[in-house]
Symmetry: C2
């Protein structure tokens, strides 16, 4: 991030027509945005959410409240023609409301998805292998999906996106996310494994066992190897989105726990990525708070979301754009002729 722009933004915040500090957390957010965009008056415009979908071998082990068939059906839901426009899922409804553009990627869904002009097809395999018994992805598959995510982020940027939101859909994907989080934070799996879409106590205990077996299977701490070992394809794609956004000096809004696991891999690879990440809300999944503590970042709200799809990120976009607007569009006390 641009330290000089941040210093100038900090000075400017103190001169704007409001009591010092009265904009609360928006002030620090605005200064961070100045660093991302390299100017004390940042003007982010387009908002893009890239929803990557993938399936998980572990889902067949019974770690989710939903059957894996839901993943492809939700992909078609993201793309469906509805009376309100394209897409009938939560992320579509919220994106239409706040003016964000939705990109949908097949990162590795276990189905023959029909062709659709708005479906970006980057699957290399129909779902990951079961992380409990073997590496979920090969290193090559992992790198392919990271690059696919990066390429789609680049397209979104070319389409006008200044704020990028990686989102995901994948029945079973809080299992690899928890495994990644446990390994990279050196945490007890039970402390970072949550109920995902809503599993009961018995399934939760089984999910923790699956993660413990996966962690016992490999001791690697190399970030990309950790990602390859535990999966999944959509997490790799989201990592690519984040890295490409940061490389282009664009802001990334970080949604929930699965997105957080991609961010942990990203920050382990490239510590400066952290400066481009803006957590939306603290999601209800346990383990998310631990991720945010590790990243040293404060979320913007706490609405108890646990949906994924990038929904929380899209909801947070107007807050982030507003923070930038205060720095850019408010007059200073001197400009307004107000005594201080």
């Amino acid at each position: 991030a641009d330290q000089e722009a941040m210093a100038r933004a900090q000075t400017r915040q103190a001169q704007l027509t409001k009591p010092a500090g009265a904009l609360g957390d928006l002030e620090a957010l605005s200064v961070r945005l100045a660093g991302v965009f390299g100017t004390p008056t940042p003007h982010p415009r387009g908002v893009a959410v890239i929803v990557a979908a993938g399936d998980h071998g572990a889902a067949l082990d019974g770690v989710s409240a939903y059957p894996p068939e839901v993943t492809p059906m939700m992909v078609m839901n993201f793309l469906a023609d509805t009376p309100c426009g394209a897409g009938g899922a939560a992320v579509n409804a919220i994106a239409r409301t706040v003016g964000a553009r939705v990109y949908v990627m097949d990162a590795g869904v276990n189905a023959d998805l029909p062709d659709h002009p708005q479906l970006h097809r980057h699957a290399v395999r129909r779902g990951t292998r079961n992380l409990r018994v073997t590496a979920a992805m090969t290193r090559e598959e992992t790198e392919t999906l990271v690059l696919a995510g990066a390429a789609l982020a680049q397209q979104a940027i070319a389409d006008g996106a200044d704020v990028l939101i990686p989102g995901e859909m994948g029945i079973g994907n809080t299992t690899p996310a928890a495994a990644i989080t446990a390994r990279l934070l050196n945490a007890d799996p039970a402390d970072v494994t949550g109920r995902g879409t809503g599993v009961d106590d018995r399934t939760l205990a089984h999910k923790v066992e699956v993660i413990e077996e996966a962690l016992a299977r490999t001791g690697t701490t190399d970030p990309l190897d950790v990602l390859a070992e535990f999966g999944g394809y959509e997490i790799a794609a989201m990592l690519g989105v984040m890295l490409q956004a940061a490389a282009n000096r664009r802001a990334v809004i970080l949604d929930g726990f699965v997105e957080g696991s991609a961010a942990l891999v990203g920050v382990a690879l490239a510590p400066h990525l952290r400066e481009y990440l803006f957590p939306a809300g603290e999601c209800a999944e346990i383990g998310h708070a631990a991720q945010l503590r590790h990243l040293g970042l404060t979320p913007m709200f706490r609405l108890g979301l646990r949906l994924g799809e990038g929904t929380g990120g899209v909801l947070a976009a107007p807050l982030l754009l507003s923070a930038a607007a205060t720095l850019r569009e408010m007059r200073t006390f001197e400009e307004a002729g107000v005594p201080t």
Copy 2:
């Protein structure tokens, strides 16, 4: 609120393509909006923030970190021509970002404000009397300003507003707001009196004394009398905005502590008003949390805002519109053909 629409909305939320409860607090918000708008698929469109400005006799007693001259200068700032559009204050910058319309009212500013086509003039006096020594407003002045707020709300509704945000500007106005809150919640003044724009410990102690003297001066608990005794004109105008919005079945986003004091008066007068109120964030002013507990309402975020102007309310508007959009625009599992 429409109980049948709320029941149908609750049923619909459970059928939408997401795990039950995964949209967190947005689900309850969407159901409340169904009640306000009388349909299980509410479609609020226009957002209006009505910023009422007034001065306070108590400000001459030294209860604020800023001189009273700031009030008229900020009114002109709300109306100023800037390179970005009309208005150079925080509320203008944020309203432009989220697409809200700003209405500015002189509710009783202590200055000869120049005529401006966008300034709604409803002042009956140049600032309230000092609540420490006498009634801040007459009952007639109070009613006049309530009606003026209601009339401007009606104009905003005619202009297309479905979501109304009362906002305020008035140096010294957290003093009457704290007095109103202390009286209507039967609270110790020290527990509901905060630093406003940022007073030091000594000024805070003095501010509490002023409020204690005001409370000792009158024992009234009649809601409109409480408002008249302590002031101020902009609080009366905000009360009118809230009552008129609710009477028209429109949603009201409740910003900070001063707005909250108007809401306490409103709910004391008309308990059903509560059903139309949606608190934005918990503001940094102590006493706001006590107001929200009394109202039984949960804020949407906690960003530490303490600016007023309706800024928090405008920031929250996209969250509220998004909650309604999930109910209206998401497909059900059945519509999407997803197994449950």
